[in-house]
Amino acid sequence: MGLLDFLRPTNANAAFLRPYFDNLRAGKLTTTRCPKCGVSLWPPRPFCPGCLHDALEWVEVPPEGSLYTWSEFHDKRFSVIFKVPYVLGAVDLPNGLGRLITRVRAKPADLRVGMPLKLVVMKHKSDNKEWGVVEAEPK
């Protein structure tokens, strides 16, 4: 067991986020939607900041997006379960939902700003548990 293998996501202990992590483990990226305003919120929230309603529903985020920007990461001191180098990208989610930062499974030479991507949920082990992590791939 490596030095950092005990890590789990910083937010994993938040009760309201349990569905988020459970859904990821089941292979789906989800977020909260306010049924009163009809607005999807990214990232998930405990209540709607617009109308303060707190009975939010979980909805699936369409597993696609476009590449806003990226960087190839080389610093192994801060790489926990992934081998460097890997590409980190900022992905614009559909319908103006927001932006997601994650690994892009591609070579830097194959990347261009604005290219369409699909999102895939990969499984990774840490802290003796399986975690779902959303990654991106060229479409």
């Binding site: 920007t69 980190l88 103006g96 830097p108």
Partner: protein, 401 residues
């Protein structure tokens, strides 16, 4: 409202590694140096302000204002730590200045001390080794917008900002390297700077890649350091030995994102909206325009942001820094001098102290006593940031004609 002046500045130790000292000792030395510079006595200080300690209070103590007051034999009427990430030091100055402007205090000192380098070496690595850090994650807060296990460093976020700037304005990695080289050129003449040996664009580009296009020599240098500023009323400042430098205006803005715009995709990372709004507020309140500014210090955590932030401040049009850095326009001898003390990459970056270093440099510039003096500088600007530049403070300072 009283006009507020900077009466004294103190940097008693160069930015560097100070393993054999405590934060409180370094803070006390900085207060002493600022008092000597102002020609004031300890008993003149009515307010004591600081950014929060970098070091966790337990078990290492770190900067502690109540103990510092005891050690200085100071009985402050007012005392506070002011905290908002990296711009805390600038907000501590703003808070102290407001107390003076309101007439609650006549003279106050703002001080910062941090052993970011030594404490990281001595404590953080040890704590990680023995798993003393919380098991719920790394000390860096991981927003849900960032997928877990991938990103325990802020460097890739700034690198992605750099990539986007390259895409929008045709900048190349060489341009970022030129900013690091400019900072080093300035640091060569600054005795308070941590890194003073000359470097070239090639050396910067060939140094270790952390997150491309950012290489090691484009990074802020976490270091140990301390600094203090004595603020007072206009009336009192005019009776003191040093030329008073007045705080003309302060702007402040915060963008509700942690680098990633959360409610919509309109946000850009090739520009920082908080820096833009803070500058606009400072210029409006001060009745000045960017063209009036003679010298500027920016808090740009990595070399690519050395190009982006001056544009946000209005010193250049969008994308204008690409040719400006090629032409040396932001050198101390150029038309738009920036970071004449060496900036965070070469002067060094104990983050709680950085905004104070910036104010100290601009005050020295306006007094005519800076290491890379801009001839005739009369209006100066300081920009400090927090978070992922989603907090910004911009201050305009002036010397009378």
């Amino acid at each position: 409202m009283n006009k507020v002046a900077v009466a004294g500045v103190g940097v008693p130790l160069p930015c560097g590694v100070h393993k054999g000292r405590t934060e409180n000792e370094m803070a006390a030395l900085a207060v002493r140096a600022a008092l000597q510079d102002a020609g004031l006595a300890m008993a003149d200080l009515e307010g004591l302000y600081a950014p929060p300690p970098f070091t966790p209070r337990e078990p290492l103590l770190g900067l502690n204002l109540q103990m510092l007051a005891m050690e200085l034999r100071l009985q402050p009427k007012r005392m506070a730590e002011v905290a908002m990430g990296g711009c805390s030091g600038a907000l501590a100055i703003k808070f102290a200045a407001q107390e003076i402007a309101l007439g609650n205090l006549e003279t106050a000192v703002v001080v910062a001390a941090a052993r970011e380098k030594s404490v990281t070496d001595e404590f953080v690595l040890l704590a990680m080794k023995h798993r003393l850090l919380p098991e719920t994650g790394m000390p860096w807060v991981e927003p849900l917008t960032h997928q877990p296990f991938l990103l325990y460093s802020v460097i890739p976020l700034y690198a992605m900002s750099a990539r986007r700037y390259m895409h929008e304005f045709g900048a190349r990695p060489e341009h970022f390297a030129m900013a690091a080289v400019r900072n080093r050129r300035h640091a060569r003449r600054n005795p308070d700077a941590a890194f003073r040996d000359p470097i070239t664009v090639e050396e910067v580009l060939k140094s270790r890649t952390l997150s491309e296009p950012i290489t090691l020599l484009q990074c802020c240098a976490q270091m140990d350091g301390c600094a203090a500023l004595v603020l007072t009323t206009e009336t009192r400042a005019r009776k003191l030995k040093k030329t008073p430098v007045f705080l003309r205006s302060i702007g402040e803005a915060h963008d509700n994102s942690s680098f990633v715009p959360v409610d919509g995709v309109a946000g850009t990372v090739a520009s920082f909206v908080a820096a833009k709004r803070a500058a606009a507020e400072a210029f409006k309140r001060g009745g000045l325009a960017p063209k009036d500014v003679d010298v500027t210090d920016v808090y740009a955590p990595f070399a690519p942001q050395e190009l982006i932030i001056p544009e946000d401040l209005g010193l250049l049009p969008r994308g204008g820094m690409v040719s400006a850095i090629e032409q040396g326009l932001t050198d101390a001898s150029g038309d738009i001098p920036i970071n004449t003390d060496g900036g965070v990459t070469s002067r060094g970056h104990p983050w709680p102290v950085t905004p104070l270093y910036e104010f100290v440099n601009i005050v020295r510039q306006l007094r005519g006593e800076a290491p890379n003096q801009v001839s005739g500088a009369r209006i100066g600007m300081v920009q400090a940031e927090g978070g992922m530049v989603n907090s910004s403070v911009v201050a305009l300072l002036e010397r009378e004609r």
